[in-house]
């Protein structure tokens, strides 16, 4: 999929340039993340979008199981996490996006999200299903950098 897409290929900004970063994501992957969030509502949904190391491209959606199965918390199962990182390593990929949903609050990183964020290069995507739950309707889809406890919201550019 990623090899033929032109999505996200234009802005190869340097990884440290946090202030200038934009999340470029295909409509297909954005919609699939929203669908995942609706499906798991009222529990939080979580997952990653993988892309080639150093590319910042959002190529491959990998929905993960929320081992916490909670409306207020998410956590990748520890064995799933190990398998995920091994697979990414083998494919020279990184988790370009780490996403999860908030099901009763806005799509802004909670104190816990900020405290536990451990991928400074990732785009942390927050989806809120608070407005319409599992049904079709408005959802918030926002993206952030979280580095050393500092949250910087970034623009989301959805490409067809």
């Amino acid at each position: 999929m990623g090899a033929t897409r032109s999505v996200g290929r234009t802005g190869r900004s340097p990884p440290r340039d946090y202030a200038e970063r934009v999340l470029k994501i295909s409509e297909e992957i954005r919609d699939a993340i929203v669908a995942h969030a609706r499906r798991d509502h009222p529990d939080e949904a979580c997952g990653v979008v993988a892309g080639a190391q150093g590319s910042d491209e959002t190529t491959r959606l990998i929905p993960m199981l929320n081992a916490a199965r909670s409306p207020t918390f998410y956590e990748f199962d520890s064995m799933d996490l190990l398998r995920l990182y091994r697979e990414l390593d083998e494919r020279d990929e990184v988790p370009v996006v780490i996403y999860h949903s908030h099901t009763a609050t806005e799509a802004y990183p909670s104190r816990t999200d900020i405290g536990l964020a451990s991928e400074p290069a990732a785009h942390y995507v927050l989806v809120s299903t608070a407005a319409s739950g599992a049904a079709e309707g408005p959802v918030e889809f926002r993206s952030y950098r979280i580095v050393d406890g500092v949250v910087t919201e970034e623009e989301v550019e959805v490409c067809p």
């Binding site: 918390f73 998410y74 190990l82 451990s118 991928e119």
Partner: protein, 90 residues
Amino acid sequence: MAVEVRIPTILRTHTDGAKAVEGSGTTISEVIDDLETRHSGLKERLVESGDLRRFVNVYVNDEDVRFLAGVQTPVKDGDTIVVLPAVAGG
């Protein structure tokens, strides 16, 4: 007792950017103490009050040490230890 320890991106500031370092010891705890002598600050990121931090996962040969004996889990020559921060939040 040489083991390979794979270090996640966020902790590579303690290993001069190295993705994997060598350690020695007969338990996870000893390996962490050994690493600390060369990679200052690493231990504090992994351990709290003698136990693994809640949101740090450590695996020995693909097994989560929480399901073994935690930091007392034995290691042997040639084992691979993987450290991964939990992907979690609220």
